[in-house]
Symmetry: C2
Subunit: 120 residues, 2 copies
Amino acid sequence: MHLVPADRADRRTIDGHRVCEAIAAIGDTEHVRSWAERFALLADPGRLSLLLALHETGPLAVTDLAVATGMRDPAVSQALRLLRAAGLVSGERDGRIIRYRLVDPAVAEVLAHGVLGHRD
Amino acid sequence: MHLVPADRADRRTIDGHRVCEAIAAIGDTEHVRSWAERFALLADPGRLSLLLALHETGPLAVTDLAVATGMRDPAVSQALRLLRAAGLVSGERDGRIIRYRLVDPAVAEVLAHGVLGHRD
DNA sequence: TGCAAGCCTGCACAGCTGTGCAGGTGTCGG
DNA sequence: CCGACACCTGCACAGCTGTGCAGGCTTGCA
């Protein structure tokens, strides 16, 4: 296994074998970057609360989300815009109400196995 | 179920029942905040690469991590300091080498079920 | 048609965060 | 004892991010 890119091939290593294993574990750079962006969206208490509520409760309107999380409705709206742009949530119009739901299965799994799975 | 805190009890709601469900789903504010901080640490491509390498490969030295991730060693050092302060990784001295490993089981599970579980 | 409710946008501000560089500390081998 | 190596720290900079406020738009109901 010679997975070390040419631009760092001249650097010293302590255990070259494990370095190659680590490079294989990290995998594609794009994949890592895409997950880092996902985690960045989960890194805000407000957005995380919104996602938890949507994941467990199902379709919810902006106003109800604002009351449930204690945020103001412009903040909820702004947060949902980011989450929708990233494809994590999706909104469905019902009259003058828009109900949002969580549509990203990978994030749902992270919420289930991570946040909800480790609360004592 | 009357889970709506007093300071927002006078706000309009569309479906009061679901609001209470959502509040129950969100759970303790401290818990959410602690997970948001965890996700913030995963939200940087460099730190995420380090954690993936440590999770799959096991104990690794700073220099090897720098080569594997393409980062410079001060950046790796700085990242590991944050991760260590948060209790995600732990370092063990072996002469002039310090090998780090992932010690937070919740984060390990997120990496396994999230990042590593969803790469095509 | 008029009014209120639900949702969205723009703007300006403070605060944090990642990054690079230069240089310092401790440890091992000759 | 000295140099090389592994690792760490401080500082200063640019860039992003969350927040609040004021106000606008669309929809539904009386």
